[in-house]
Symmetry: C2
Subunit: 528 residues, 2 copies
C-alpha cells in the first residue's frame, strides 16, 4: 500500500508518556498541533501488526494475535467477514447470565490500571461498559496484552471481544451499571488511536454546576464555550450534547411527520434567505399546492450576537390555504407543538434527564388547547404589572419574558399564542385586520417567555399587496414574479415559520442556542 507508513519499532509505552493529567488547563492550539504531529508520527509507527512489535524483554507471547493496533490495510474494506458486533446498550443481565461471547466497538472513554489488571470503559452512543483484562493463566490474557490495554489513549476507537459477566463490585460511571454487567476481555484491538493530549477532557465538559459547587469542585477545570465550539466535533461526544442532538432530531422528525400526515405537500425548497423562501412558498400556494411545508437550513445575515440568534438555523416553514380565518393556521401550530411536547415526554425521557442533570431546568407546562391572547390583552397584562409598552410597537426581549411569567402565573402555561399584532411591526405582505388596519391578522408564539414562531394571513389581492409594498418603500419591480402571481387567481392563505434550534433550546431549558446547532454560525464564528 503506497499510503502505508514505513515499518518502525515504537513501543506502545512511548505514547503514554505524553498523557496529560486529567485536570491540566486546556492546551493552546499551538501546543495541540505540536503534540498532534508528534502523536501522529507515533501512531503511524504503531499502526503495524502488533506481531512486529518487539515483545517485552524475556517474554514470548503466545497470545500476541489477540491484541494490538489494527493495521491500516485491515480498515480498508478488505473483506466482508460475517463477524457480528453487539451494541453496548444491548449488553444486559441475560447476556451475563448466559456468559455470552460478544464483539463490541466503541470509544475508550477511560483506561484504568490496577496491578496486573486493566479496565477499559468503552462508550458507544450514550451507553458504556467496563471491559476487564486480568493477566493470568487460563483466561488467555498475557501481561503484554494488559500492557497494551494500559497503553491505549482515551477516546481511541477500540474493538473488544469477550464474555459478558457480572462484576465483583458495583461499577461507577458506566451506563450499563443498572444492568450490572461487564466484559471479560479475550481480544482487544485498536482501530483508531486518539492523540494522547486531547483538546480537553470530556468529563470536564460534562460536569454540572452542582459538581463545581461541591467541596473540592472548584479544582475542576471549566471548558469555556469558545473552546467547546472550536473542537465541536470532539465536544459533541458528551452525553448532554448527544441528548440535545437526539432531541433536535426528534423535533425535526415529529414536525415532518405531523405536517406530512396533515397532507401538507412537501415543498422542495430554495432558501436564499428567510424572506425569499416565504415568497416562494406563497407562490406554491398560488400554484395550487394547497399546503406546503419545509424543514431545512435557513441563512440570515444576523449581526447581533445573542443567546438565541444564529446566522444559520433549521427553519420549519408552513404555508397553507385557509378557508376564512388565520386561526386555521394557529390550529396547525397548536396541534403540531402539543404533539411535539407529548412525543418528547414519551420518547426522549432519558435524554431530557441527561440534560437536566448537567443543566437543570423546570418541566414544561402547556395546555391541551393552546391559549390565544390578543396583542392588546397582552399589553394590558403588562400594563397592570407596571410595564408600559409603546402601543403600536413590538415587544422587546425583556417584555416578552415578563409577559411569559405573567401568563404562566395566570394561565399555568409556558406556551401561548399572541395575535393581532400592530401592522407596523409586521412585513408588508401581512393581511391587515378587517376592522382596523392598524392591526394585522398575525401572531407570534411564545415558549418559556421567548418568541419561537411568527405567522400570519398573507395578502392575496394584487392591488392591496402593491399598495402595502409602496407604503413601505419596497420597489415592486424587485419581486415582480411574486407580485404578478397573485393576479392568476389566488387562494386565501397564511403560514408561519419557526427556528427549530431555538425551539429545542427552550424545550431543554438551555441558555444558549449554540448548544443546539451542530456547527453554530454567527457574525463571529465561521468554523469549524
Amino acid at each position: 500500500m503506497s499510503a502505508e507508513p514505513p515499518p518502525a519499532s515504537a513501543a506502545a509505552e512511548e505514547l503514554t508518556a505524553d498523557l496529560a493529567p486529567a485536570t491540566q488547563p486546556t492546551p493552546s492550539k499551538k501546543q495541540l498541533k505540536k503534540s498532534a504531529r508528534k502523536a501522529e508520527r507515533a501512531a503511524q509507527r504503531q499502526q503495524q501488526p502488533i506481531q512486529q512489535q518487539p515483545p517485552p524483554p524475556g517474554a514470548e507471547d503466545p497470545f500476541a494475535a489477540n491484541y494490538g493496533d489494527v493495521p491500516v490495510e485491515d480498515t480498508q474494506s478488505k473483506a466482508v467477514t460475517g463477524l457480528s458486533w453487539t451494541e453496548v446498550r444491548d449488553l444486559d443481565a441475560a447476556a451475563a447470565a448466559a456468559a455470552r461471547s460478544v464483539l463490541v466497538r466503541g470509544f475508550a472513554q477511560e483506561i484504568r490500571s490496577l496491578g496486573r489488571m486493566a479496565f477499559v470503559v468503552l462508550r458507544e452512543g450514550r451507553s458504556s461498559v467496563q471491559c476487564v483484562l486480568a493477566a493470568g493463566a487460563g483466561a488467555g490474557v498475557s501481561a503484554q496484552m494488559v500492557a497494551f490495554a494500559k497503553s491505549l489513549t482515551r477516546e481511541s476507537v477500540v474493538d473488544v471481544e469477550g464474555v459478558v459477566s457480572f462484576p465483583k463490585e458495583l461499577l461507577v460511571g458506566t451506563t450499563q451499571q443498572a444492568r450490572i454487567v461487564e466484559i471479560q476481555v479475550r481480544k482487544i484491538y485498536c482501530i483508531s488511536r486518539a492523540i494522547p493530549t486531547l483538546p480537553f477532557n470530556l468529563e470536564d465538559a460534562a460536569r454540572s454546576e452542582a459538581e463545581f459547587l461541591k467541596p473540592g469542585g472548584q479544582q475542576f477545570p471549566r471548558v469555556g464555550q469558545d473552546t467547546r465550539l472550536n473542537y465541536r466535533a470532539f465536544e459533541i461526544r458528551t452525553p448532554t450534547n448527544q441528548a440535545v442532538l437526539r432531541i433536535s432530531t426528534q423535533v425535526q422528525r415529529k414536525s415532518e411527520n405531523f405536517c406530512g400526515q396533515k397532507t401538507l405537500m412537501r415543498y422542495i425548497p430554495q432558501n436564499f434567505s428567510v424572506e425569499q423562501a416565504k415568497l416562494h412558498k406563497q407562490m406554491a400556494i398560488v400554484g395550487g399546492c394547497r399546503r406546503v411545508f419545509e424543514v431545512g437550513p435557513v441563512f440570515r445575515a444576523e449581526t447581533s450576537r445573542t443567546h438565541r440568534h444564529l446566522c444559520e438555523f433549521t427553519g420549519l416553514d408552513v404555508e397553507m390555504e385557509i378557508k376564512e380565518h388565520y386561526f386555521e393556521v394557529c390550529d396547525v401550530v397548536d396541534g403540531l407543538f402539543v404533539s411535539i411536547f407529548k412525543h418528547l415526554a414519551e420518547k426522549c425521557k432519558e435524554e431530557l434527564e441527561t440534560i437536566n442533570s448537567q443543566y437543570p431546568f423546570e418541566p414544561l407546562k402547556y395546555l391541551e388547547q393552546t391559549l390565544r391572547l390578543t396583542y392588546e390583552e397582552g399589553m394590558q397584562m403588562l400594563k397592570e404589572a407596571g410595564t408600559e409598552i409603546e402601543p403600536m410597537g413590538d415587544l422587546n426581549t425583556e417584555a416578552e419574558k415578563k409577559l411569559g411569567r405573567l401568563v404562566k402565573e395566570k394561565y399555568g402555561t409556558d406556551f401561548f399564542i399572541l395575535h393581532r399584532y400592530p401592522s407596523a411591526v409586521r412585513p408588508f405582505y401581512t393581511m391587515p385586520c378587517y376592522d382596523n388596519p392598524a392591526y394585522s391578522n398575525s401572531f407570534d408564539v411564545f415558549l418559556r417567555g421567548e418568541e419561537i414562531i411568527s405567522g400570519a394571513q398573507r395578502i392575496h389581492t394584487p392591488g392591496m399587496l402593491a399598495k402595502r409594498a409602496e407604503e413601505r418603500g419596497i420597489e415592486a419591480s424587485t419581486m415582480s414574479a411574486y407580485m404578478e402571481s397573485f393576479s392568476f387567481g389566488a387562494p386565501l392563505h397564511g403560514g408561519f415559520g419557526a427556528g427549530l434550534e431555538r425551539v429545542v433550546m427552550l424545550l431543554c431549558g438551555l441558555d444558549s442556542i449554540r448548544m443546539v446547532s451542530m456547527f453554530p454560525r454567527d457574525a463571529h464564528r465561521l468554523s469549524p
Copy 2:
C-alpha cells in the same frame, strides 16, 4: 378599511370583453403587464358586494345575495363561521344519491355558456367537478346569477354552494366523471378574480405529444420551457406538475422515514456547498453521532446547462459508521431505493399514470437485491460492446447510458451499483482499495443509465488523509478543523449523496430536471 378600493359600478361583463381566444399565442410580458393592470383596476372595482352592482335593466333580482364577488374585507379573517367545505375529490355517487348539499372551493378551470345555462368546472388539487347553473323558477337561480357565472374568468378562485347530483349526460374533462356527479349550483361567489388574459392556457401546457400528432393537433399552441418557467407559479397547476411535485414529496418523505427507522440520527445541516456539507457530516461521525443523514437544499455553482444539472437541488446525504466494509453503505442505498420504488408503485399509481399520459415512459425494472458490478466489470462490458474507455478515467454521459442499456439487457434492471472506481476520479478523502491504491472503496449508482448517487468509504486516519490532500495540491490549512478531528479517535465510516430532483426525473422518465424543481435555478435562470 383604508386598503379598500373606492366603490365603482363596473358590470361583470366588462371583464369578459378582454377574454382571449383559447388558442392565441402566448402574450408578451409587456402585454401581460398592461392587461394585468387593466384587469386589476377592473377587479378592484368589482370587489364590492354584488348587492351594490346595478341589476341588469328591467330586472330586480330577489337572489342577488346568492352570487357575486366577495368583498375584500370578507377575506380578512372576519369571522370563524363554522361553515364546512367539502373536498372536490370526496364528491361521489353516494353524495349524489343523497342529493347532499355541499360547499366547495376551487379554481374555475373552465366556464361554458349554453343559452340560459352556465357550466363552471371547479378544480381542487388534481380533482375537478362540473357545477351547473340553470336559470329558472324553483331552483333559486336567476338570469343575473347565470350571467355572473358566465362572467367569471378562468382560474379565478370560486366558492360554490349546491346540491350534488347525477348529470343528465356523460361529462368530459373532469376527474369526477368516473363517479359521474356534478353540482347544481345554489350560490356562487368569486373569492379572487384572475386576470382575463392568463400567461397561457393550462390545457395547452398539459397536452401530450400524441395530441399534437393527432389530426388537427398541430393547431394547438406549444408552451415552451422558458415560458413555463417564467410563470412557474401558474404552470404548476397542471396535472403533470402536481403529480411530479407529489412524487417528489413522497420520495423525500420515504427517504426521511427510511433513514429515521434505520436509526440514522438526523443531522442539523449547514449546506454552504456539497463539499462543506460532506466534511461536516464526517465530523459528526467523529463526534460519535454514528449515523447521520440530511435531506435539504444544496447549492452548487454549476456552469453547465444540461437536462440533469441545477445550481440548487435537494440533497439526500448519509454518513455512517461502518464496521469493516463500504458494502455496508451500499446496503443502505439498496434498501432505501428498493423501498422508494415499492412505495411509489403502491402509493403514487395515479400520479405516475398522469405523468405517463402526458410524457410516456417505460415502467421501471429493478431487482430485489440490487446488482453490484465493479468498475472493471463495467468497462469490460462496454469494451465487449465496442466502447473503449480510458481505464483510469471516468464515464461520460454517453458511456453511462450505454452501460445502462447493456446492464438492462443482461441483468434486467434499470438500477445498479458500480463500485471500485479509479482513485484518480474521486475526492481526496476517498479510501483507496486495500489491494490496489489506484482503485478506491467507492461507488456510483445508476438509474435508467444515469448516475444518481456517489458514495464511498472515507479515509479516517489523519496521516493518510494529509498525504492524499497534499498529493492533490489541497492546502490542509484550509480545512484544519476537519483534518484535526480525525486525530481524536475516528470510527471507520462511509456515506453517499444523491440529488433527489434527478432521482425523481429518472423515476418519472422525464427528460428535464427543470420539470421537477419547484423553482429551478441554473446559470441562466435566477427567477422567479
